[in-house]
């Protein structure tokens, strides 16, 4: 079965210069799409990837990453809507490049579909009550 997952990878300092994504492709036959990449001032790496491939390959790939010391989280655990602050206005809807926010009808409440989110952060500041949080 083919699956597709958005994951956030945290690289410790020692791994920042290693060709890890290359191994995911070459050894585990996974397709990747880089959504975000950065190296912090402490030289730790952050990589947000969309990975697709056979489920067994994906699982083995994840085992490989865990084994060499890369921290893995699903992207949906990193982008959070503060439900008490959200007023369901809709300011986020046209800002989001991946249409992760949709208007639910007939209630006209704003839905956030975390699985569509690419953690770009564009919604954070245009949200008047500042309900969106990205935590890496």
């Amino acid at each position: 079965m083919t699956i597709s997952r958005r994951v956030v990878l945290h690289f410790p300092r020692l791994l920042v210069d290693q060709p890890i994504v290359y191994h995911l492709v070459k050894d585990y036959n996974l397709e990747f799409n880089i959504l975000k990449a950065s190296v912090t001032p402490k030289e730790e790496g952050l990589l947000v990837l969309e990975l697709s491939g056979e489920q067994s390959d994906y699982e083995q790939g994840m085992q490989y990453l865990t084994g060499i010391g890369v921290g893995i989280q699903l992207l949906s655990q990193n982008v959070i809507r503060n439900e008490t602050r959200c007023t369901h206005c809709g300011a986020c809807i046209t800002i989001c490049p991946t249409s992760a926010f949709t208007l639910e009808l007939p209630s006209r409440r704003v839905n956030f579909q975390a699985e569509k989110c690419i953690a770009c952060g564009l919604c954070i500041k245009p949200c008047p009550p500042r309900a969106m949080e990205v935590r890496f």
Binding site: T87, G90, A91, I93, T94, I95, S107, R108, K125, R130
Partner: protein, 400 residues
């Protein structure tokens, strides 16, 4: 037919009043006709929940020992400056006030993370707020400096007093330029990238009473989750604008000044907000009950989104330069569909006011009235109508 507010209140008191929301009344009027609907229904409840800049609260802080006179001095609440030009311990905190050290738009667009609206929300939530005050000191008020935590429960008065809320209609904001702009109508993407509007349409109070026939000074309302009153017409109240055949203004028109006890309100309905690149604000919940005194009043409350038109305005050039040009009009039904046509381009639309929350306010007010907890008031004076001859003035500069 014809009912009086006293008769409606009697029915509310007995738990017999028929109360529906401004959404529900549309279907009832369509099913049963205006005449029958007007006979059956006693009250229609409206609601709106959007950013309303001209909002603030006055507080009486009580007297410290020894005494200090804040009047004419400086007072900060969580670093946000309050207005002190009153007697010794009365202050006013406005929703758009910013800390003195806020970077504002020095690096554009500024974040505007915390301002007066957030202070009001925290007060209402029962959180302690940090007061720092500097005064000049007098024989009767010797103290010159005071730093303390304040809690709303320890204040003599905390009163929300908003001088312009619940605007009757508002612009649909778009951007014709080739760069993103940051406005009080939200972030507007270049080349007609999006269109932002801000009203609850068919649920909005003044769309349901377009000629101000029931809403007047003294009208009791839902305000910020508590009870408030219409204090006056809102600033910039401008009844004599272009109107549709149904009487509904097609341009920004009337507005309400409202007042109520902040201690009774809830943070859920007074939310401090940040307009990216623009400033701080507060999102206010207001619900106004409309007594169905006649068939005419019922007909007004049955107004539908498709019958309400709003002007589309370019916020890159026309608005800032005070040019009167509009790019067309859109109905609230079109705006709520998620896209409108502007200059032959399909433009995605969103609202800055929450329709879902406006509906919740109308529903809450309906429940209060049905349970007999909320009686209607007779206005003590009407709001100025078209006949008042109000002309909307701009600031024309005169050399000094």
């Amino acid at each position: 037919m014809g009912k009086t507010i006293a008769e409606i209140n009697e029915r509310i008191g007995k738990g017999q009043a028929v109360v529906v929301t401004a959404e529900e009344v549309i279907e009832i009027a369509a099913d049963k006709g205006i005449k029958e609907a007007a006979r059956e229904i006693d009250v229609v409840t409206t609601g709106t929940f959007g950013p309303m800049c001209s909002s603030g609260a006055y507080l009486n802080l009580g007297h410290s020992k020894p005494r200090i006179k804040f009047g004419g001095g400086s007072v900060y609440l969580n670093e946000v400056p309050a207005y002190t030009g009153f007697a010794a311990v009365d202050i006013f905190i406005g929703a758009t006030a910013l800390p003195d050290n806020d970077p504002q738009n020095k690096i554009h667009p500024g974040d505007f993370n915390y301002g007066g609206g957030h202070v009001i929300e925290e007060l209402v939530a029962g959180k302690d707020v940090r007061l720092v005050a500097i005064a000049h000191g007098t024989d009767c008020y010797p103290r010159k400096k005071l730093e303390t935590l304040l809690n709303i429960k320890d204040l003599n008065e905390a009163v929300l007093f908003n001088i312009r809320n619940a605007y009757q209609n508002y612009n649909v904001a778009v951007n014709l330029s080739d760069r993103t702009i940051y406005t009080y109508m939200g972030v507007l993407k270049p080349n007609l990238g999006n269109a932002n509007y801000s009203t609850a349409g068919q649920l909005s109070p003044l769309f349901n009473d377009p000629w101000y026939k029931t809403i007047g000074i003294g009208t009791k309302i839902f305000l910020g989750g508590g009870v408030g009153y219409v204090a006056w017409q809102g600033t910039q109240h401008n009844p004599a604008v272009l109107r549709g055949d149904n009487g509904v203004p097609r341009r920004p028109a009337g507005a309400l000044a409202v007042i109520g006890d902040l201690k009774q309100m809830k943070p859920q309905w007074l939310v401090g907000t940040s307009m990216f690149g623009y400033g701080c604000n507060i999102t206010v919940g207001i619900g106004v009950p409309i007594p169905i005194l006649s068939e005419e009043i019922l007909r007004y409350t049955a107004v539908r989104d498709e019958d309400i038109l709003a002007p589309i305005v370019d916020y890159a050039e026309a608005y800032p330069q005070r040019q009167p040009d509009i790019l067309g009009e859109a109905s609230y039904a079109q705006l709520k569909s998620g896209k409108i046509m502007v200059r032959e381009k399909e433009v995605p639309t969103v609202s800055l006011s929450s329709y879902a929350k406006a509906a919740e306010i109308a529903q809450t007010l309906k429940e209060w009235i049905k349970r007999g907890e909320f009686l209607l008031t007779e206005p003590v004076a009407p709001l100025p109508g078209v006949e008042a001859g109000i002309t909307f003035k701009s600031l024309e500069e005169h050399p000094i």
